[in-house]
Symmetry: D2
Subunit: 326 residues, 4 copies
């Protein structure tokens, strides 16, 4: 059977705020982009319809729908093994959403659905800092949580039920802060932006020493960082404590998985300048001694506006091309 | 080239005390066994010579040396990726011992060398509770330490430098007990037999309430367990605390790797009767919520006298048959 | 979740004549066996019912149904990727039979279905001559056809649609004998028992020299072989020609896959004594020169009565344990 | 350890005539190119020196040598498993050349060496028509030979000794044309340009009918093709016969490996316009019936001047980054 190969895929990233759709070629060039507000479609059916309409329009305007090989979708709480979004906490749609099935039925294309961190790891592996690595960890430090995925022997490790990589919910402080997940002492309660702000509050309450942080109109990790730039001692203490705990969490992760590198992504990498030094020191101090000095800690160099849809596009290539007639 | 296949391997387990050599067939039947005191050969050369002599004798007495396909060796601090024992703490030979090379040169057979936990995981995968599992964890609770290895997608995850699985040196108590490795708060400081005894001592010091533990001639985990059998409240508290911390450590491990099962082996499984209930409760309490009730916790059912050499024999099958003439 | 692991599986081999059911443990010990005539159940529903009844009885009589982990089934024309028997030529049931689904629904257990050669390869890998090999070929020389499966990098190579390994239908003689498959010159037209008999007929027609073959009551490959034992020149010529062509077919296979070994199984290995020498000579003559003398040619040493159900049992371990409640 | 990742590799293709060196980024953008005549360096040491000098110059002129991660080299008869060129027929250097070792010693970088077809397959997988495919075949139709490599389950299948993919030396015509390799009837004796020319000669000798081919100044496959464009019956017969045999060879390959696609590359794809139709017809006629209409036959769409170094660059990413200090 003589054929022409389809050389483009659709990458879709569903964020709490924005859903982005990209047409991407094999080498990670984004050929076209579209996006809309996720919250505008609180009904899953109309959300899926909206995606499909825009995918078709984007493809038709850029070479034709029949040049599209497959679709990759990333979303929080999505599970590659089931193709579903499962009980996403901050999404408008509750329960189990069989998104891959819904999209495949409507688009007639093969669809892969995976969680954010899975997509990010594939993106770094295909186009970023993890290219060529068999074993690595990707950590996404976000506002609300800490996501992660690691590769084992050149393949994403998703685990038995597709839930692996939940380092954000490993317990780093026995009987520590109450986490939104119901447990105590979870890493993300200390190292997400929420956690950093909470630490800042605790430090301010511990004494009544002066600090620039006290007069910030809004406590954000960036604002705390800019206090550091003015040599605010208490602001530095926020990042020292956060870095120390993040260093423990990553060291534990590394002691278990022995990665070639840990790649940091997510909006909180914008405070890496202040967070990084104490994190790295704590990491080296807590990691299994044979790995000391051997695990690279790097910040992702992929473009922030491209990372998520690139990861989703990489996911699209993991499914077999689908046709009703094959 | 018409050939007869070699259907037996040599499995060697180097323990601190005893080195055991077994001739094992494909199905895990131990055809012959030999052993000697490890400490009798403090020079690595004479130790290797001793192994080789006994391997040849064992093989010649049981079908002939030329029916042996390959050799697998397990030892603490051995690294499959280098074939060496690397800075073993309690072994008589210091530094880096290129054991695979030394044995291959002398025996003329392919040799695989791996650490204890790697061998144990292969043994459980080949002949035990992990048979048929793609993703699982093996934990070995010993007197002095906690070893571990996990499988990812049907293969052992050794990590970038061969050091993966060091859950025993993950930090479970921030700024906790001083570990022999130089760090603080390592899991094995609480959950190895040494750790259990230390916990018993601490509990006895916390109060002057009576306890059967106070009159034990020697504090061992088994002795503490037998106090439990006589309803000693403080003895139960030892296992409650140990189980709680072990539950956290294993929950963290599971949250990262999402295994189908965690299989417990090692001499400390003899106290599982007392340790298990609190460990399981703590595990379910600390594991990532989507995995609750889904990760099997099981004690290895392999014969204690066979487990180590079976694991070593499984390792022997992972190397390609070697011949000077191929 | 504390658990006991299930340590037995059911292996079922569906042959044209007999269907065999075995209860097998992890190490390949057959704990119990049952069998019935396949043709007695020309309706697929009653055939499936018959299997289920016997599986339950076998399990209940040997430790209980709830000690069974999963089920593996081998049959001609079965496809592991779909779990179906697809257009089997000599089976009573036509079209596509979703056997894995039918059995899983009725038994409530995970079920793997694969073709004969896939099962045989897994059996040799788990319990036979291919143990420890990353790359090997299994060839089954049967009465009517030649089946095959090869391993690549330690895993069965099933190909894109699950149809790989059809060396029996590679064309070895351009515009040669008409094959039942519709093509011409297929390897199995020369090297199955049917092909051997056809060659014997052709040789007898080529001349009117005397031959013991001419007075055989029935031409079978064994009967022709016994003529060889009496130094019948024409009988030897049958195996010479067959071996020459089989040698080409296997050499082509090896030049493409470069296996460590080619393992021969199937009823026609009973004539290997006569077929082997010319096959081996032709193989060495036709294989890619760098592989000469390096590819082992071996006859399976597994017990004929056990081979098929052992392979089916190995297949059973490739599927994840299934439960409605997990 | 905080680090910057190296995001470029060197891809080197050693051809009989020209050796090309490229600096390539992760996404397959060729940043700089250099080349020299292979035959100018008949001594392997001076050839290696020449490569190293040019690699250093190229890197220094384009971002610095320390931004280069690793080196990939493709050459005929190179073996990825040994890192050596082994008995290359048309190269100036005889015997076994440990090229990977020689380059690594001089450059201080990790080096992968593989044969042409291995590189081509990796190139198609990374940047071309095979992207996203788990199972596919790449065939290179050259002037003198037919090279090939196939992927199994997402990985290159190199076989036990690294020699897999030698479809060019499968026997398609029993006792056929004498091959340069010593055997008879090899596919490449019919389907390389040499083979096509030989077929043209045979056809001209079979009769004394007129043909434009008879007055060609030089018989080349392109020249024969242009005769087809003028409706020369005998020229068409050349491609009909060639296509028929190539169809058999590829069908046999597909029946064994069941690929999603067969991707054709190499200089002889320039005659695909004439060769393709009969090849495709013969392929469908000879492939295992269940695969009919399911295996895509496609011509590579990668740029001819880039293909080889892109493949070599893809090879460079398969080795672990190397440093004397890690």
């Amino acid at each position: 059977m003589s054929s022409t190969m389809k050389s483009k895929v659709i990458g879709i990233d569903i964020g709490y705020i924005v859903t982005t759709i990209a047409l991407v070629d094999i080498r990670g060039t984004i050929l076209a982009l579209d996006s809309f507000m996720t919250a505008n479609y609180p009904q899953i059916n109309s959300f899926v319809e909206q995606i499909c309409e825009r995918v078709v329009l984007l493809a038709e305007a850029n070479g034709g729908f029949d040049t599209v090989r497959s679709v990759g979708v990333t979303a929080a709480s999505a599970n590659y093994k089931t193709g579903s979004i499962e009980n996403a906490v901050n999404m408008p749609w509750k329960g189990e959403i069989p998104l891959a099935l819904m999209l495949r039925d409507r688009l007639g294309l093969a669809v892969a659905v995976g969680n954010d961190a899975h997509g990010t790891a594939l993106g770094e592996f295909s186009f970023g800092s993890a290219h060529g690595m068999e074993n690595f960890v990707v950590i996404s430090l976000g506002h609300g949580g800490v996501g992660s995925c690691f590769f084992s022997n050149g393949h994403p490790h998703l685990g038995c039920h597709g839930f692996a990589g939940e380092v954000g919910h490993t317990c780093v402080i026995k009987d520590g802060r109450q986490c939104t997940c119901g447990r105590k002492g979870c890493l993300e309660e200390y190292t997400s932006e929420r956690g950093i702000i909470q630490t800042a509050r605790e430090i301010m309450e511990e004494s009544d020493e002066p600090s620039l942080m006290r007069s910030l109109p809004e406590l954000t990790s960036m604002a705390i960082g800019s206090c550091c730039d003015q040599n605010d001692k208490m602001a530095w203490e926020v990042f020292r404590r956060t870095g120390y705990i993040l260093g423990i969490g990553l060291a534990n992760y590394a002691s278990i998985t022995n990665p070639e590198a840990i790649i940091l992504t997510g909006e909180q990498t914008q405070v890496y300048k202040w967070l990084g030094p104490s994190m790295e020191e704590s990491f080296e101090q807590h990691v299994f001694h044979n790995m000391r000095g051997k695990v690279k800690l790097v910040v992702s160099t992929l473009d922030n506006r491209e990372r998520d849809v690139l990861g989703a596009s990489a996911l699209a290539w993991t499914v077999k091309e689908y046709s009703l007639f094959l």
